[in-house]
């Protein structure tokens, strides 16, 4: 255990945990916005896959990582329009339509990968960028302030989303539509317009999540996300629909995963316990979810399409 508590190992463990948490955080933040307005999107994972492929293919063709990330985000936005059309305008059962979106993303991204790419080649990944002065702080600097721009963006979005939800008129409308859409409608708030905007925004975040996941490994593979999108949905419940809570859940999941891997590599976790240890991130998250879920309630109109009466 002593080898774990060395500066080099601890620095890399925490830094890797933060980087690993980033796709979860982005996807969960987007899902939080959507769910606060009453729309649940189980297609997050499929959207992440399509966005990851779009990011990869654009990077392969252009060599421009900024274009690639924009392609990923743009794919999320387009999928957000489709999701909003199905869930908000057509008022489909959100759980089922979300699964449909997920399956479509899973299959279509695999098809495109096979037809357009052939032999996969790695792309250049986003280099870590040190924040001047902060990255020179002993120990902490290497842990927190030498990350890629997507990691900084993800964590910067936490206070921004919190501010928007809690301090702006738009945020008030989102929450009103999620709690009591009929009342919001009677006060002149366009429920459909708000939900369209939150779903598109949420799916754009999911697109960024796919892009960040792709940038982490530097190569696309079929089912790259490994159902991380569903973990992100669970993290929304974990975080009690609050951006800071969602950030905490994402960090817990990412850090536990990396700590387990580090302990395995140091021989702290024996081989006989390896498979059991691999389940730790999910188990810990579910246990925390069970404990926390009782304390907060979900938006009252979550998952229910709104139709004006009369």
């Amino acid at each position: 255990m002593n080898q774990f508590f060395t500066v080099d190992v601890l620095t890399v463990t925490v830094a890797s945990g933060i980087a690993l948490a980033t796709p979860f955080l982005l996807a969960a933040l987007g899902e939080t916005i959507g769910q606060r307005s009453g729309v649940i999107n189980l297609g997050v994972d499929g959207i992440m896959l399509l966005a990851a492929f779009a990011t990869y293919y654009t990077a392969l063709q252009t060599g421009n990582l900024l274009f690639a990330i924009m392609a990923g985000a743009g794919t999320g936005t387009i999928m957000g329009m489709i999701t909003a059309l199905v869930s908000v305008t057509l008022k489909a059962e959100q759980g089922i339509s979300g699964i449909g979106i997920y399956l479509f993303g899973l299959g279509f991204s695999a098809l495109l990968f096979q037809k357009l790419v052939g032999t996969p080649l790695p792309i250049a990944t986003l280099p870590p960028v040190g924040i001047p002065l902060l990255d020179e702080i002993p120990v902490v600097g290497g842990m927190f302030f030498k990350q890629s721009v997507l990691v900084y963006l993800a964590f910067l979005l936490v206070p921004i989303v919190a501010f928007v939800l809690n301090r702006t008129t738009y945020g008030l409308k989102i929450k009103a539509v999620g709690e009591n859409p009929a009342a919001a409608d009677s006060l002149g708030v366009s429920v459909a317009r708000i939900r369209w905007s939150t779903v598109m925004l949420g799916c754009t975040f999911a697109g960024l999540a796919g892009a960040s996941l792709l940038m982490y490994g530097g190569i696309f593979q079929v089912n790259l996300t490994q159902s991380e999108g569903f973990i992100a949905v669970a993290l929304v419940y974990f975080g009690a629909w609050r951006p800071v809570g969602v950030m905490g859940g994402s960090l817990l999941y990412g850090l536990v995963g990396v700590v387990i891997l580090t302990w395995k590599s140091l021989g702290i976790i024996p081989l006989s316990a390896s498979d059991l240890a691999a389940t730790a991130p999910a188990v810990i998250t579910v246990l925390a979810l069970l404990f926390l879920a009782r304390r907060f309630r979900q938006p009252a109109a979550l998952g229910r399409p709104y139709e004006r009466e009369g």
Partner: protein
Amino acid sequence: MHRHLDRKLSLILPAVLVALVAASCGGSSTPAPASPAPSPSVAAAASPAPSPSAPAAASSEPSPSAAAATTLKVALVAPSAVNDLAFTQSMVEALNSLKAKYNLEIAVSDNQFVVATAANVIQNYASQGYNLIIAHGSQYGSTIQQLAPQFPNVSFAWGTAGSTYNLPNVFAYQANSNEGGYVQGAMAALLSKSKVLGVIGPIAVGDAKLYVDGFCAGAKFVEASISCIPVYTGSFSDVSLMATAATTFVANKADVLTGTAQAVVGAIGVAKSHNLPWFGTQWTQVSLAPSNVVSSQVYNWAPILEQILTEIQGGKLGGATFTATLGNGGEQIQFNPGFNLPAAVKAKADELIKGITEGSVNVPQ
């Protein structure tokens, strides 16, 4: 009226989505994909067909012209993509290399990582009259055990596994991946300056565990005090976990890395970014890191497939187990000319390959 139209659309659109899903998932048979380029000349390096590990029943071998005239329908069901640069690609390449010689009509269903769906796919192929169905994944074992008796005139080949379930229409095939692992582990120990090796596996089963165990055994054969602690991520396909595992090894001073499973592409990226040597297995991974891949243990399933196809043409549909080894050409160590390998390390590798092939070097199981 507007509400009525909305309801109709709300029914039609999910149906359209489902249709799109069915089209894009591509679970049913598709024509065999062309080999993703570039690919090593596996066929050129193949040795003559090896004898199986179980005694083969006497079978009359058809003449080459007769064999080529009869079309054999072969289906492959695999858990990962045809271009995964690992497990599935090795089988696809082998099948394609035999297509002309045996006049094969090949169908491939890849990405069948959900066993229940794969079972459906296998059953469909059997119902469509395919002569040989290759279930390329140990997770398909129970499916084969259930379906094979229902289709006694169809031959099933299951790998990587050593059991035919005593069924007359099931062949089994496996790879002694510990052999190539042993050779590469020895090379890694000689290349390592820090004497810490990074070894990443998916789950401790099958040929993945064999390879990892062989690698560490080979490393310790050369350098008894070397650190070779494998990390199993718990997933065959989680690229980010493999990349993270590689990163933790690098933080722990590992200066040579290896790994197995289709998710190793993530770990290879870490090796490349830190400019560390990488040893591959199942398929050549040079394209991912041309300057870092030292060598790859490449699976060459062609000799085993030839034996199976010959048995089928002779009327025998199963009941034998085949093992790919360094000795029979089922496994090959392919060195990367783009890596500056010291002559002494290459010589050691050649010595071990020769010893394993001749039986003078015993690789622990």
